[in-house]
Amino acid sequence: MGFIWFWLVAVMIVGYVVLDGFDLGVGVLHLFLARDEAERRATLRSIGPVWDGNEVWLLAGGGTLYFAFPLLYASAFSGFYLPLMIVLWLLIVRGVSLELRNHLDMGVWQTLLDRLFGIASALLAVFFGAALANVIRGVPLKADGYFFLPLWTNWKPGAMPGILDWYTVIGGVLALVALTLHGALWLTIKVSGELEERARRVVRPLWMGLCELTLVSLAATIAVRPQTLDNYYRYPFTFVVPAAVLASLAGIWIWNAKGQALKAFLSSCVFLFFMLAGACWGLYPTLLPASTNSGLDITMDRALSGPHTLRVGLAWWVFGMALAIGYVVFVYSRFRGKADVNGH
């Protein structure tokens, strides 16, 4: 049961990153790619009908984590109190600035709202990357299963780290670049003309940056938490995960160069999937490692809900998510094709 729920929660997180990831990326990119109001509208139109549906994955994932692993939910959410609150504020600013700019035509305010939307999108990407890096690095858990992290201490990932240190900053930058690239690839599918061309061109430098950051983060992860490799050595066939990461990177480059936008975007989805799955597999069966003493780790068995809760949960979860995926597929198919620069 624990194994199943670990991966179900992981799937929800991956779903969130893959889907909300591209609209975060588009949020960052619209500041740089769109040259005039019509292009900006086309850019934002490409995410208009789907962005809040994408955010639902965060809520549904959070809820699933809540009842499947209450201890982890309680410990991580209160321990990461400050960064989570900042994430909430950013989500509010982002959602409202997008909504406002769609309803108001007021010159100078438009520019302000666009900037806010772009900056909030970028910071969210950074925070999500840093959050994942925090989980991999570990936190100073106490015997009661709780901890509290300040935003930063000495910027080193030691026994008493802060939210931000050099390792988690790498994670944040990696996420920013990966999601911006993801957004650029989405745009190559959804917009046309010069805008599409510009999106395709920006893929190249982002891709090179992403390759370097992927390798740097891999090395940094092994340096910060060498146990990450244990599962891989125990089950060597799982080295297919890093191989898939590299293959999907190659896929992005090749298909983007050939102008096959959909395939390039899907490669990016695969890349995000295997990066996250690889990180989860490196942790399994630990959910939140302790930076002080690995005996205090929050493990799957320690955090898992009771058997009846989980059995019941599995029944409705499978049914509900099957429905949900149905809606998602339906909506995306309805909005298939290019978003027109000239309004409708």
């Binding site: 509208r41 934002l44 139109r45 208009g48 009908p49 809040d52 549906g53 955010e55 639902v56 965060l58 809520l59 549904a60 994932g61 959070g62 809820g63 699933t64 809540y66 009842f67 209450p70 201890l71 939910y73 309680a74 410990s75 959410f77 209160s78 321990g79 109190y81 400050l82 989570l84 609150m85 909430l88 504020w89 989500l91 509010i92 959602g95 409202v96 909504e99 406002l100 309803h103 108001l104 299963g145 709780y146 509290f148 809900s305 009771g306 009846h308 809760t309 019941v312 409705w316 979860w317 509900g320 998510m321 429905l323 809606y327 998602v328 909506v331 309805r334 909005f335 309004g343 409708h344």
Partner: protein, 448 residues
């Protein structure tokens, strides 16, 4: 200020602000379905434009509801960690179900409803409206199930220091939850009806868009009459009796009943005085409280004197006022809607400027009544976090200091003050210009 108080205020403030939006979402969701159904049946482009106009307002309101709603789920973990750890196996379940069963449905079909007009058939567009409405009401259901378990815990086992679900169906069909659900959804409908009637009245008073004003008034007043009655009888009545039975301390606090009485009177107006244990300047009607709760004028009603002091609801006067404000406004809703419905039936409402003014000025009142109703429920539950099982003082995140809690509370207050201002501007603009933006055929309406 203690950390416990800060965490309570944190949740209370953010949830109170949040619920200003979903109550309109749920109320309007239903009314938009009414408009779309009429439009589909008589093929009237007027009714379709009316539906689109409200769709735009719904869309803005929905986004504010979403962005203020995400913090609510997070705060269970961030500010109430010990509570989440102990009870997550139970209440995490309905909260996750809300995301899986409601939010996916709601967001998917809202995208179709707002953006997909020209890509959908008329029937499909109507169907999207129905799905959005259903999504919002399913969402309300799971939140009420969560709250109902805290108010009246059922179907649980306590194993190794954790609450676990013993029966899934009994958790979902908690009688407290079902009563609270119908009462609450009727309350949301009242908000939707008053807002729609107020905009209709505003248009007629200004002599602008009179055709639309009449549609809004017709739908708002007829639905509003039904909802205003149902919220008192039977839903409020049944819910009140259930509270009296299972939370006598809450009922005594709501009524300001310090002393146990046979043939207890109901206090219409008066100020509870915690020092003397009396109501100052009371206006009472004898025997009515006993009758309302037990159906006989002589029944004994438990007062606070029979309840141990450490189980009295904290902030007792606030509980009393919240309840009296809700009940008083509820009475006003019935009076106003009965009069307006009568005028509508006689064909005189559209010209009765005094009635239109009364409708226009009454639009904030259901917001106050819904808020006061929730305050009654949640303050009445105190000092318990899970009634009878876990005290509020045992549930907050003790590792998050009062200083950090206050920092984020102030942050939310500032941000929400700004949001409130922006929302008002946006809605005012929609009411002023929204009808010009919607054409007779559905097009992309969100302005992109």
């Amino acid at each position: 200020m203690t950390a416990e108080l800060i965490h309570r205020l944190h949740f209370a403030f953010t949830v109170t602000f949040h619920y200003l939006f979903p109550q309109l979402t749920m109320g309007l969701g239903l009314l938009i379905v009414v408009l779309k159904t009429v439009a589909l049946r008589n093929g009237s482009p007027m009714w379709d434009r009316a539906a689109q106009f409200w769709g735009r307002i719904f869309g803005i309101n929905f986004v504010f509801g979403v962005v203020t709603g995400i913090p609510m789920e997070f705060e269970f973990g961030t500010n109430w960690a010990q509570f989440s750890r102990v009870s997550g196996g139970v209440i995490g379940q309905p909260l996750a179900m809300e995301g899986v069963f409601s939010f996916f449905l709601e967001s998917a079909f809202l995208g179709l409803f707002l953006y997909g007009g020209s890509r959908l058939s008329k029937k499909m567009h109507w169907f999207s409206a129905v799905m959005v409405w259903l999504g919002s009401w399913i969402s309300g259901f799971f939140i009420i199930v969560t709250d109902a378990w805290m108010q009246h815990p059922v179907a649980y086992n306590f194993v190794n220091g954790h609450y676990e679900v013993a029966s899934f169906w009994k958790l979902l069909l908690n009688p407290w939850g079902l009563l609270q659900y119908v009462h609450n959804m009727t309350g949301a409908t009242v908000t939707g009806c008053f807002v729609m009637s107020a905009v209709g009245a505003f248009y007629l008073l200004e002599g602008r868009n009179p055709d639309f004003g009449r549609i809004f008034l017709k739908v708002g007043v007829v639905t509003g009459l039904i909802a205003s009655i149902v919220i008192i009888f039977p839903t409020g009545d049944l819910h009140g009796r259930y509270v009296a039975k299972h939370q006598p301390a809450a009922m005594a606090g709501m009524e300001g009943l310090y002393h146990t009485e046979k043939g207890a009177a109901i206090v219409l107006i008066g100020q509870p005085n915690p020092e003397t244990g009396q109501i100052d300047n009371p206006i009472r009607i004898g025997n009515v409280l006993s009758f309302l709760i037990y159906g006989t004028t002589t029944a004994e009603v438990t007062g606070l004197d029979q309840i141990p002091r450490d189980q009295w609801p904290t902030t007792l006067p606030l509980l009393y006022y919240a309840y009296h404000i809700m009940a008083g406004l509820g009475t006003w809703f019935v009076l106003l809607m009965v009069v307006c419905a009568f005028l509508l039936w006689r064909g005189k409402l559209y010209g009765a400027r005094w009635a239109l003014w009364a409708l226009l000025l009454s639009f904030p009142l259901p917001y106050i009544a819904n808020t006061a109703g929730w305050m009654t429920a949640e303050i009445g539950r105190q000092p318990w976090l899970i009634y009878g099982l876990m005290r509020t003082s045992e549930g907050y995140s003790s590792m998050v200091s009062a200083g950090n809690g206050l920092f984020t509370l102030i942050g939310f207050m500032g941000l929400y003050a700004l949001l409130g201002l922006l929302f008002t501007v946006l809605i005012y603009r929609e009411i002023s210009h929204g009808l010009d933006a919607v054409k007779s055929e559905p097009v992309h309406t969100a302005g992109m």
